[in-house]
């Protein structure tokens, strides 16, 4: 109805203030949330891709107790089929266990991680962290250890480290391993407590020739994760094995992402509360200024609900104009920074590279983020509409 447009146009200044307050709030909030979500999505994706995999395969019971007796077996044919799955970029079998490492009189409990050197290089770019010595070959019987661990135990390249741990089925695992290389691992925990060896050496150490603690599987497209998990389940023996998505294995990381986001969500709601009160103030003024006009309209025969509809439509048109304008700007900006992410510089960037991660901060184009802003504005508009609608329904048309 033309009354809606005329009324908006009548008070152009106020309409522009309303529209632009919605516009700036939506623009700011959408980009803020988009940026933060994008950084987290990238961070999670980085971690999954280079460290833990999007999908993990373990023997039933392993996730609960992480003991060698719950290690798994997988045949070469299945491995080959997994690697052939379209969306899968990397399948890294692991042998993860604990051992006491000693050299001379010093000893320390460490994590022993059996890796496929080639696949690990492809996945996390492990060789880049070498500060001395050489990387492992596929059948190597030597170790790569963290810098901190080397210092603690007083071992260097070429020295031999004794490892004592638990083997399969209660046997004890004992071995002497020459140090092939020293790694600069980024966190102190890892740097002081990790030794890598080839899968073959690790399996021999624990006396379990074909055993793995698990498979870490990275995918190309996280959106197709569920389909890929189904494909993995079709390949592996699900009687004995469980297939886990990262939503399960990385629960803690997801939680910290949520906690971090909560702060910005609070800022977002504060913004919208301010905008909401601004709109409410405008609408209260507008309603009171137009009381007489409303009275005349009802007197000459306009039904109250029809009048309320016009006023509601005015507010809705203004709010939606603000939202649409803001999204028209925010979406291309988010898309641009999604395709051309902000690049980190300096130490941060270096640290990311050490982890085998890309030092990029993209924006997220997750439609949910933008839909959320629209919904919030609509809710605000609906709430603000209550005032004039209520006023109109109670308006006394005589005695003016």
């Amino acid at each position: 109805m033309k009354l809606v447009w005329r009324n908006i146009w009548r008070n152009r200044r106020r309409a522009i203030i309303t529209i632009s307050s919605v516009f700036f709030a939506v623009l700011f909030c959408a980009l803020m949330i988009s940026f933060q979500t994008g950084v987290w999505e990238k961070m999670i994706d980085n971690t999954l891709r280079s460290q833990t995999g999007h999908i993990q395969v373990h023997a039933k019971g392993y996730w609960e107790d992480k003991t060698i007796d719950n290690f798994m077996f997988v045949d070469d044919a299945s491995m080959a089929r997994l690697e052939a799955v379209d969306n899968i970029t990397n399948v890294s079998p692991r042998v993860e266990t604990f051992a006491m490492a000693s050299h001379g009189l010093s000893s320390k409990g460490i994590a022993v991680i059996g890796i496929s050197p080639g696949r690990e290089e492809q996945k996390s770019n492990l060789p880049i962290k070498l500060v001395g010595g050489e990387y492992l070959s596929e059948t190597d019987d030597g170790l790569l250890i963290g810098q901190g661990l080397g210092k603690y135990l007083g071992v260097g390249i070429g020295d031999t480290l004794a490892l004592i741990g638990q083997g399969y089925h209660g046997s004890s695992a004992v071995g002497l391993f020459p140090v092939r290389g020293i790694l600069n691992l980024v966190t102190a925990e890892m740097d002081n407590g990790i030794a890598y060896m080839s899968l073959a050496a690790a399996q021999k150490f624990i006396d379990m020739p074909d055993g793995y603690s698990g498979l870490l599987i990275a995918v190309a497209d996280n959106k197709r994760l569920d389909a890929t998990i189904a494909e993995v389940e079709a390949i592996v023996d699900t009687e004995a094995l469980n297939v886990y998505s990262w939503h399960f294995t990385m629960e803690r990381l997801l939680q910290s992402a949520e906690t971090d986001k909560a702060f910005n969500v609070v800022i977002m709601y504060i913004m919208y509360v301010i905008v909401g009160f601004g709109i409410l103030g405008t609408i209260i003024m507008m309603t009171n200024e137009r009381r007489r006009e409303f009275c005349v309209m009802i007197s000459v025969g306009m039904q109250r609900w029809r009048l309320a509809l016009i006023v509601a439509a005015e507010l809705l048109v203004m709010s939606l104009t603000g939202v649409v304008a803001a999204l028209a700007l925010a979406l291309p900006i988010a898309r641009w920074f999604n395709r051309h992410p902000i690049e980190m510089t300096g130490e941060m960037a270096e640290m990311y590279r050490q982890y085998g991660m890309e030092p990029l901060m993209p924006f997220s184009v997750n439609p949910g983020i933008f839909a959320e802003q629209v919904v919030i504005i609509l809710v605000i508009a609906m709430l603000a509409i209550i005032y004039p609608v209520n006023k109109i329904s109670k308006l006394k048309i005589v005695g003016k």
Partner: protein, 227 residues
């Protein structure tokens, strides 16, 4: 035939301290084609009586029959619809919707009635012509003088083809020349188109143009004479 009939119509306003008999036991009949003035001093109950006849206010007791229908028994929505289809209104001031042009203000009523577009358009032009505003059809109310605004209001009141037009002191805010002009237009519409007008006033020069004069005092009719 009577188009309006009130029986023992009363309106009592109750304040904390006192009761005001704004309209007191009024029996009144109005037939089609009348040109009737309700006169009386300020506070005599003219507005209250017109509001009740127009379905804008409800009586404390008594009944108002319009076109054979007791309008005091209608629901709020029914009353609103009844006003739209049967009664034309001209108020003392601020009659018009400020964002609409003169022609749109007149069309507005017919749009509410859901009339066809072509009819709305031709009737709005015709009515504005009849009140002498053919050349101001696209002006907004703010661009019109008080007298012109009231003439638009008369045109709007007629747009719905009502059974009668209620005008509560339509000339109160006008200078005497505009007031006389407005009355002449109302007289002409009454004589040529047979439109029934009931208006209140306390301007003796306006009263002189009426053909029936009902005088109120303290809410009651003290005289009712036709001239």
């Amino acid at each position: 035939m009577n188009i309006i009939e009130t029986k023992s119509l009363c309106k009592i306003f109750r304040d904390t301290a006192q009761e005001v008999y704004a309209v007191n036991n009024v029996d009144l009949s109005i037939t089609a084609g009348e040109f009737t003035a309700i006169v009386g001093p300020s506070g005599s109950g003219k507005t209250t009586l017109l509001n009740m006849i127009g379905g804008l206010d409800t009586p404390t007791s008594g009944s108002i029959i319009v076109d054979g229908k007791d309008i005091s028994t209608l629901s709020e929505n029914e009353t609103t619809a009844f006003r739209l289809h049967h009664i034309g209104f001209v108020f003392q001031a601020y009659n018009l919707i400020p964002v609409l042009s003169a022609k749109e203000n007149v069309s507005f009523i017919m749009e509410l009635q859901g009339r066809p577009k072509a009819e709305i358009d031709s009737r709005a032009s015709e009515l504005l012509g009849a009140v002498g505003l053919a050349d101001r059809m696209d002006s907004r109310p703010a661009k019109l003088s008080g007298g012109q605004q009231q003439r638009v209001a008369v045109a709007r009141a007629l747009a719905s083809r009502p059974r009668f037009v209620l005008a509560d002191e339509p000339t109160a805010n006008l200078d005497s020349k505009s007031a006389a002009n407005l009355l002449d237009i109302m007289v002409k519409l009454n004589e040529q188109e047979g439109v029934t007008f009931i208006f209140s006033t306390h301007d003796p020069r306006i009263v002189a143009k009426a053909r029936r004069i009902i005088t109120l005092e303290d809410g009651g009719i003290v005289s009712d004479r036709s001239v």
